[in-house]
Symmetry: C2
Subunit: 307 residues, 2 copies
């Protein structure tokens, strides 16, 4: 095989651009998409840099899967349906084995979110990926960070802290048995964007964000955008049985509050609105600003330029 | 100033997200756009890596401007009107002076293409940028690489080779007087996406591509996508007076044929269609495959993984 830039794209990514909305896929100067009439377009881009956003030891399939899911999670937080994704991949060399693994993970993620890969770029440099995701919602039926009202319930999907514990397992800082390791590392390596939940929340939630940087950090974004205060009760945080049996309660709560990478949805609901399945209430929206929690973990959230 | 990731985005890029189509700009999980009814969405992403796609000596304003224009040029090649852009910026440190220059160039490019900056990401790592551009065309009224027909005229806008000569000036390989240096380096540093021409060509051109990798390389893409052969007459290549007076004819032609970075449009027109202003015919479309030219430069086009 020639390892030229163009052949790379053709060989590894060209088969992933099929979809009902795609008028023109990979191979021209741009892709062309037909979006549902009367819908809004939602768009977001996420970059992942090796050694900063993911461990150098991650398999290429996991790098691809995790990066696409992290980007798609932003669409989940808006209540949007994925329509397409683009991948800008910078890599040090055209390694066929690496690219085969990577494209396998990419195909899995593409199938999981149900959106075609319609374009991107392939360049030489230190390993990083920028995934751009496009989604749609009916006009004016989307979620934002800014609609939380005093009196609303503060809720979250799934369980928190598993991904941070999984990262600790992968980096040798937490020793657990094989099945716990499999569960926790999968939560870190193969997160699930909560797309169906996000779409269901369009009808009821007043504000929503996905938990990528850590619960406290992301809750602060809702508080700031909505002009309210969020009170979090650490005793109500949803912790998985595996996490509880793998670490002491203090450590588990710190991961749940500040660990990040869970890609669950944090949202606010009017007081009389029932909780969706698989979600719990763990706090309240009150008048004021900022966030409060009965527990302060050592490190709050994730910030590339404060590390 | 706190140099946190979030403050960076707020401080330097937040003011650039205004536009008629923007329902929700920077600051939520995704941007939301309202596109013209009945239009197709066009989308493309381009990555530029320091030392590979631009000289490390380029000013931050020029890095920003050039990267946005290179991405917008893909929309020009489709005949699309820019609607929005996203910037994923990876940089080694949060240098305020650098970011001020960069955001100035970004604002200039944003104004030049008339599209708001609606999102992106800021991460730490070696310097690279991925610019994603969104554009629109009336449904089914867009240009592709694949419509060229035997008998069509092969045409190009502007002049070719200036940007390659400008790069030679910047890297100390070509010595010219001050005004020639200003003209040639500006052609490299501040390219203009031919957006108005691309939109005008929607009504008449059978195929179109922008010249980013080099005339021969990009012509080969049209030939391949259209299933035709392109014959290029080097004597008809448009060379600027400055280029002609700055280098010998052989070198000028090599830059015009293989230099890249000109971001002019290469397009095919039916035989009876008049040439748009500022464009010349420099070849023909014939039956067959590939490209032919009476001159073969030493290096054809640009390929990251063949360098």
């Amino acid at each position: 095989m020639s390892d030229s830039e163009f052949d790379l794209i053709q060989d590894f990514f060209a088969g992933l651009d099929q979809g009902a909305s795609v008028r023109l896929g990979i191979g021209d100067d741009s892709a062309a998409l037909s979006l549902p009439e009367g819908h809004l377009l939602h768009i977001s881009a996420d970059t992942a840099v090796e050694g900063v956003h993911f461990l150098a030891s991650l398999s290429p399939a996991d790098v691809a899967y995790r990066s696409v899911m992290a980007a798609a999670s932003d669409l989940a937080a808006m209540g949007a349906s994925p329509q397409a994704l683009l991948l800008a991949l910078t890599l040090p060399e055209a390694d066929r084995v690496w690219l085969e693994g990577f494209s396998r993970g990419l195909a899995e993620a593409r199938a999981a979110i149900g959106a075609p890969l319609v374009g991107g770029d392939t360049t030489r440099g230190s390993l990083s990926l920028t995934v751009t995701v496009l989604g749609s919602t009916p006009a004016d039926q989307y979620l934002t960070r800014s609609g939380a009202q005093p009196g609303d319930r503060l809720c979250v999907s799934g369980t928190l802290g598993d991904a941070a514990a999984g990262l600790a397992v992968l980096s040798g800082q937490l020793a657990v048995d094989e099945s716990a390791a499999a569960f926790l590392t999968t939560r870190y390596i193969r997160p699930a964007a909560r797309l169906a939940l996000g779409q269901a929340l369009r009808d009821c939630a007043t504000a929503c964000i996905d938990i990528s940087d850590g619960l406290l950090s992301d809750a602060a974004h809702i508080a700031s955008a909505s002009g309210v205060r969020l009170e979090i009760d650490s005793a109500l945080l949803p912790l998985s049985e595996t996490l509880r049996s793998s670490a002491d309660l203090e450590q588990s709560l710190d991961w749940a509050l500040a660990g990040g990478d869970d890609y669950e949805l944090l949202f606010t609901l009017p007081d009389n609105t029932p909780l969706p399945d698989g979600c719990v209430e763990m706090g309240r929206v009150v008048a004021g600003s900022g966030i409060s929690c009965d527990r302060t973990p050592e490190r709050i959230g994730y910030d590339h330029f404060r590390r």
